[in-house]
């Protein structure tokens, strides 16, 4: 890891270590962190140089980051190399992460649950399991719908919602008094 400011270096190392908890590997995490703090876009050679990784490893990791839509590719005038950077806006990044994680961590299970629930439970064991799967499916659908809504929100609404924080419960209290929304289930 060459010529890196100590603070930046520890940030990169941290992302590498956290990678496994976030479902990416060390290299992918480090590359992301490097691109995230870098002012200018970087090409694969620069990355493999800075982080002392093989060129091929960098290539594969960048592919992985692209599959997460966490980095963008661009070209610099008069240069044939691919240059990579991360989106500017941290909210964009967070939403992308939300969407991708839902796609990878929630959707496959939701699909399986829906399919399993088509089976008619016969024995007591099956009936109990069926109920449990229903519970899980119901909650996952609500979470999934919620994240859909979040992803559709305008930038300003999103910022508002985030800033609200702990005031959301109070908003809920208002609901009764105002009955702006009907009594139907959301979804």
């Amino acid at each position: 890891m060459k010529d890196l400011d100590p603070t930046i270096q520890s940030f990169i190392l941290h992302f590498g270590e956290m990678g496994s908890r976030w479902g990416i590997n060390r290299t992918v995490g480090q590359i992301y962190a490097l691109l995230y703090v870098s002012e200018a876009p970087m090409n694969a050679e620069q990355i493999s140089d800075k982080l002392s990784l093989s060129r091929s490893n960098v290539s594969m990791s960048l592919k992985e980051l692209q599959s997460w839509r966490l980095v963008t590719l661009q070209h610099l005038p008069g240069d044939r190399k691919d240059y990579f950077s991360t989106p500017e806006d941290i909210l964009d990044i967070a939403l992308t992460l939300l969407e991708e994680r839902r796609k990878r961590e929630l959707d496959p299970t939701l699909t399986l649950l829906r399919q399993s629930l088509l089976e008619e439970p016969k024995t007591d064991e099956q009936k109990h399991a069926h109920k449990r799967l229903q519970d899980m499916c119901g909650l996952m659908e609500q979470v999934s719908d919620w994240s859909d809504d979040l992803l559709r929100l305008s930038r300003s609404d999103l910022e508002l919602l985030l800033r609200f924080g702990n005031k959301v419960p109070r908003l809920l209290e208002m609901k009764d008094k105002l009955s702006i929304m009907g009594k139907k289930k959301g979804g």
Copy 2:
């Protein structure tokens, strides 16, 4: 995997496969799935028998699930073995998951970011990185605060909030008209 209903079996296998995406391993995922659909609590021997896992592997995996607070230990009258089950309420489970994931996936990074931000940026490179870390830290704090609030919500408010789903944006629109909350930043 003995004597298991095909639907239950595919649910268990699915959880095993998803495990790696969720930050747990196959065995841990399978054990959780088995306990989740089982009506009665199970002891380690029963689990290792059902899933064809070594007794020691089951022991370690149950420890892992306990560290996530996703299973509860209990004793049956006249039986010295430990029996395990999952909480009944799927919302409880989801909140536990939220809390534990925040603890493991967010908190360590937040700590590092806060510490890094104490450093005074000197060079241009440092200044840019500093700003990026600030952005990330700010968003993570908001997300962290949000999840705090969620965890503190009463059961009924939580159910309401979940059911709301896509109506949250509409709630936000109300805000201006009603100006119940002041103009200060939340947090």
